[in-house]
């Protein structure tokens, strides 16, 4: 199956049916701009900052945040991408497939790594990402930026930068795309 085709299929099959739009694309852009400022503020500039987007939803957000940081601070921040499939703790419990190739810009030793993802839910993806990152060197600080924090954490993980806190039911699903953020459910085909 082609890589592209796979990334557009929900890993468990079924179709996402949106019920309500929570953020428009303009809202997402504003939230990202605020988060970019917060990243620069919290770290006293952008020295040693590396953005790492989690495949696949976090990668475009990381790229957009880098563009914003460039226009705000005038500094080019390295952007990488990380696929955590090989580090998940539910391998063998459900189908886990790598969605895309990991690309980390250089050694992360001594860097300030900002992980970027679209939705923070159970925290298991972030847990896997932290394990994966340690294979690329010992980062000085690892921070987490998410567009939506929807709650229901199963691990002691919290975000440093949040686009929107969004209370959800466990069986709901949150979709972040270029058109904004929607809440809905996954309907079986």
């Amino acid at each position: 199956m082609a890589e592209r085709e796979r990334s557009h299929t929900r890993p468990l099959g079924g179709v996402f049916v949106p019920h309500a739009q929570v953020l428009t694309s303009a809202d997402v852009q504003r939230a990202l701009t605020r988060m970019a400022h917060e990243v620069a503020e919290r770290n006293g500039g952008l020295d040693d900052v590396v953005l790492v987007g989690l495949q696949t939803g976090g990668v475009p957000l990381a790229e957009r945040m880098a563009e914003l940081l460039q226009s705000v601070e005038g500094t080019a921040v390295p952007v990488g991408s990380l696929d955590v499939a090989f580090y998940r703790d539910d391998i063998g419990l459900r189908p886990v497939l790598p969605e895309a190739v990991t690309d980390i810009p250089g050694d992360l030793a001594g860097k300030v790594v900002v992980l970027v993802d679209d939705v923070l839910f159970t925290g298991r993806t972030v847990r896997a990402a932290l394990n994966a990152l340690s294979d690329y060197g010992r980062a000085r600080v690892v921070q987490l930026a998410v567009m939506v924090d929807r709650g229901h954490r199963e691990l002691p993980i919290r975000p440093d930068y949040v686009g929107k806190n969004l209370p959800t039911r466990r069986d709901e699903m949150v979709d972040v795309s270029e058109d904004g953020v929607s809440i809905g459910t996954l309907e079986k085909q």
Binding site: I91, R94, P95, T102, R124, A132, G137, E154, M173, V174
Partner: protein, 337 residues
């Protein structure tokens, strides 16, 4: 993913089909990145046990499987047949059942008898079986390595990522398989793989080294190697398998080389872009000229390098991905975690 593309075992390329091959190549690409890291190891198969059971000698396949399993953090056992109870007369079935009783998750089997891996797969209850070569029959992972390597070279030429090519780059590709096809399990698997991906496969070998019947094979046979070389995109060379008695099928090695060897003179007939593959071990001076093996388009070393990533993908797809039936609603909800 709607369902898994790989069955419980990998015994033949025919089990995979075009989508299955595409899946292995896609996942192998992700593992190729793992191999480029400073610490080329991931915890994916922690706690799983992979056993290699080789009844025939091998250097690269066995090392490649064992390296692949170790890079996935699986534990690896290798049964040295020469010092095992097989020597006391234990049957293959009893050996396999003994190994499985120890809680092994995957068995990598090489045997001189065609169909051995199929038999083993019928005996095991929960272990996954990978065919690492059964007699003259098949050697599926080697064929996957060859496809992966060819796609990698094509992608580099186009300046794109191999994943972006999918399997469409094989459509209409002209593949010429040269040499001891009769005794070659690599040839059988490669022909099936290239044909499944839509390539045009031609065979060139002495009549005595062609399989007894080619009925139903998706191939054409060509007699004159010199005439066939210029239009080949990929030349897949095979070793003359002396240990399987190939020597009796040709009048002399010199005559074989003169008619079917890829000598320096013949290599000059190849198109500039033609890729030369060889599954190894090469017998320089017989099926391939020593200087030909060093040409930039001869990708033999690269095939060995890619062997680990492709075998990681196979082990991961067999052991690491669960059948969809096992997915609970809770896991489905946690998907966006």
């Amino acid at each position: 993913m709607s369902d898994r593309l790989l069955g419980p075992h990998l015994l033949s390329v025919a089990d995979l089909g075009r989508d299955g091959i595409g899946e292995v190549l896609a996942v192998a690409e992700a593992f190729a990145e793992v191999e480029r890291r400073t610490i080329p190891k991931v915890p994916t198969l922690r706690g799983r046990v992979v056993a290699t059971l080789f009844f025939e000698e091998s250097t690269r396949t066995r090392l490649s499987f064992e390296t692949a399993a170790k890079r996935l953090s699986a534990d690896v056992l290798s049964l040295a047949v020469a010092t095992s109870s097989v020597k006391k007369g234990e049957s293959l079935r009893d050996t396999v059942e003994t190994i499985e009783a120890m809680g092994i998750d995957a068995l990598i089997v090489r045997h001189s008898a065609a169909g051995a891996a199929h038999r083993v797969a019928g005996w095991v209850e929960r272990a996954h079986v990978v065919n690492a070569g059964d007699g003259w029959h098949e050697h599926p992972t080697q064929a996957l390595v060859d496809c992966f390597t060819v796609r990698q070279v094509l992608a580099e030429r186009d300046g794109v990522t191999p994943s972006s090519l999918g399997t469409s780059c094989f459509e209409g590709l002209s593949v010429l398989v040269v040499g001891d096809i009769r005794h070659s399990r690599v040839a059988r698997s490669s022909i099936l793989a290239y044909a499944a991906l839509g390539a045009r496969v031609r065979l060139c070998a002495p009549g005595s080294l062609l399989p007894p019947s080619l009925e139903g094979w998706p191939v054409e046979v060509v007699g004159d190697l010199d005439a066939a070389l210029p239009e080949a995109d990929v030349v897949a060379l095979l070793r003359l398998q002396a240990e399987r008695g190939s020597g009796q099928f040709v009048p002399s090695l010199r005559e074989y080389t003169a008619r079917f060897g890829l000598t320096a003179r013949r290599a000059a007939l190849l198109g500039k872009e033609a890729i030369v593959t060889h599954p190894g071990p090469m017998v320089r001076g017989v099926e391939i000229g020593s200087d030909v093996a060093e040409l930039p388009n001869a990708v033999v070393t690269r095939q060995v390098q890619n062997g680990v990533a492709v075998r990681m993908a196979v082990l991961f797809l067999l052991l690491g991905t669960a059948p969809v039936e096992l997915v609970t609603d809770e896991a489905a909800g946690a998907e966006r975690g």
